[in-house]
């Protein structure tokens, strides 16, 4: 870890995205182990669109830590590229594009990814979008660049959800993965915790305290329809979607202590899954839907266990440290992220399930609520700086770190949404 800290100190970029419209400030530190040099040109005529598309692409690529972004000025003639000149400047690839205002009010965003070595086009996209989706079009281009150059699906166009607390006002927000385009999903005078995205990204399950006790709801983000999924006697919490999207795992205290149950997304077909004498909570389905990882204090302190999706025998997964909570399993099922308390500090750890190798990814002291990016390459979590709660993102190898803060209030309970259709 010490070695890594020195690397982070090597580079610290403070970038305020999107100028006056920025809702969050993102601080980036650290770089990836193998940065690909890519030149990004200003798009021809991009001033016509409400968002500066090339700036958003650059910010996305820089934030990922996977690229060394070279500013290529503005290239207006995208069909006449000086490949060898860009190669000489150190760029392996070049991003160019154009924006045109269409008669119907939309914007035609075109982009090309060029290989400066092979002197050939690697990829291109052409999309006509309404003003509100110009930012999305930039994220989709960044996703394409990331995928074509690294072989890994980009997650720049995905969204996150989190809770913003200002005094007694609790707001469930949805925003782009970079914290921009923030939208209000739910406002309440009582706490909201544990948001969880449906696999199709159109609904969020969460725990609301509006009835003086924790109750699990599913809210359709598009229609605003809210469904009570679990309101049994006692506490109802910790919703997690099954990959099928038709059921959730929840933690209920209806039988006198907190245990894990599964329930249909419509609130029907409630079944007990775990069976212990102590606390079983924080269920998370594996990506294949076959297993549930969860936190249990059956051995004394909290540790992470795995059982079948309908219950059955539980196997202990974490053995280091006396306090491990909040399991999240990577999309490929190989890595477990969790929060471990060591020497009184609550910090983000990852465990390679095959090798049993554990790595600490944060050096803060009050970390919570980890969640994997849908491509498995980054983990977002809640942390605290001073008295303010903020969000942080770290690459799974621990090398690239970002911190997202807002101008006012606390942000917590982050959860990274899925790839969208």
């Amino acid at each position: 870890m010490k070695k890594l800290n020195i690397l982070y100190a090597g580079l610290a970029i403070a970038a305020t995205m999107g100028g006056a419209q920025a809702q969050m400030r993102i601080e980036i530190s650290g770089v990836g182990s193998n940065q690909i040099p890519v030149a990004v040109a200003g798009f021809a005529n991009e001033g016509v669109a409400p968002q500066q598309i090339s700036a958003i692409i650059k910010a996305d690529l820089e934030r990922s830590g996977a690229f060394k972004v070279i500013d290529a000025g503005v290239i207006t003639d995208v069909n006449n590229i000086d490949y060898s000149g860009w190669k000489a400047k150190g760029a392996d690839a070049l991003v160019v594009g154009t924006v045109d205002a269409l008669a119907d009010g939309r914007y035609d965003v075109r982009y090309k990814l060029l290989d400066t070595v092979k002197q050939a086009k690697i990829s291109n996209l052409d999309k006509a979008v309404t003003a509100q989706f110009t930012r999305l079009s930039a994220h989709l281009i960044a996703d394409d660049v990331y995928f074509k150059l690294t072989g890994i699906k980009g997650a720049f166009s995905t969204r996150i959800s989190y809770v913003k607390q200002e005094g007694r006002s609790y707001q469930l927000m949805v925003a782009d993965a970079d914290g921009e385009s923030e939208q209000l999903a739910l406002r309440s005078n009582e706490p909201i915790i544990s948001p969880s995205w449906s696999p199709d990204g159109t609904k969020v399950a969460y725990v609301s305290f509006e009835q003086k006790k924790p109750v699990v709801y599913v809210q359709n983000l598009i229609t605003r329809a809210r469904t009570v999924v679990a309101n049994e006697k006692g506490s109802n919490s910790a919703p997690a979607w099954a990959p099928s999207g038709n059921k959730l795992a929840v933690a209920l205290s209806k039988d006198g202590h907190t245990q894990i149950y599964t329930v249909g997304a419509d609130g029907g077909n409630l079944r007990r899954a775990s069976n212990s004498a102590g606390i079983d909570t924080e269920p998370q389905f594996s990506a294949d839907g076959e297993s549930i990882y969860f936190t249990s204090d059956r051995s004394g302190g909290p540790q992470i266990y795995r059982m079948g999706a309908d219950g059955g025998e539980a196997k202990r997964v974490t053995f280091s440290g006396s306090y491990n909570t909040s399991p999240r399993i990577s999309p490929d099922g190989k890595t477990l992220a969790y929060i471990s308390r060591r020497d009184g500090n609550f910090q983000l750890y990852v465990l390679d399930l095959a090798s049993g190798q554990e790595q600490r990814l944060s050096d803060t002291t009050s970390d919570e609520s980890p969640s994997f990016a849908p491509n498995g390459k980054y983990i977002m979590y809640a942390t605290q700086s001073g008295s303010r709660k903020s969000l942080a993102v770290v690459s799974v190898d621990g090398r690239v770190k970002q911190r997202l803060t807002t101008q006012a209030g606390n942000i917590k309970e982050p959860t990274w949404g899925p790839f969208m259709q």
Partner: protein, 174 residues
């Protein structure tokens, strides 16, 4: 006052009668004055002086034993302490007498650790109070044990004093 004055006047008259020779046939000059019938002005007949009766429900007595609705817990403990027992007993007695009343027991924790695990720990505190009440004969139908975890701290500081305030279960009447 008026009567006293009348008595003094009468006594003075008798004393003076003793010291001064007077005609026996002449009665002492005592004037019986009527007790003041307050001749109040017209407006005062519309005065309304408020009277408050004592609440019949001891739950509403801010100085009664039922006003204490919090049970505190030690660090990492889920056992009702000695100082919490009277709270549990008093509310159990009330609930046993008032079968139509029911309560939420809201368990709370200090701020350290994650939301969901703290919610489960707060639940253990609420369940400890619920079990103590059930042992005193309160039917399950009148009690619901729930948890607010670390989400609704009573004290907001990040020190032992605040944490001790937040390791608590509250009795809330529905």
């Amino acid at each position: 006052m008026r009567k006293h004055l009348a008595f003094i006047v009468a006594t003075a008259a008798i004393l003076s009668a003793c010291s001064t020779p007077v005609k026996v046939s002449e009665p002492a000059p005592v004037v019986e004055r009527p007790v003041d019938k307050a001749v109040t002005p017209q407006a005062d007949t519309r005065t309304v002086a408020p009277v408050e009766t004592k609440s019949l429900d001891p739950l509403d007595d801010p100085k009664g034993v039922l006003a204490n609705r919090s049970v505190y817990f030690d660090f990492d403990s889920y056992v009702v302490r000695a100082d919490g027992k009277p709270v549990v007993e008093n509310h159990s007695a009330y609930l046993n007498k008032n079968k139509s009343r029911s309560i939420l027991i809201q368990g709370n924790t200090d701020e350290r650790g994650g939301s969901e695990y703290n919610l489960a720990l707060g639940q253990k505190r609420a369940e400890a109070v619920r079990k103590s009440m059930a042992a005193l004969g309160v039917p399950e139908s009148q009690i619901e044990a729930v948890s607010l975890g670390k989400e609704k701290p009573k004290a907001t500081g990040s020190n032992e004093e605040a944490w001790a305030q937040n390791r608590r279960a509250d009795i809330v009447y529905k």
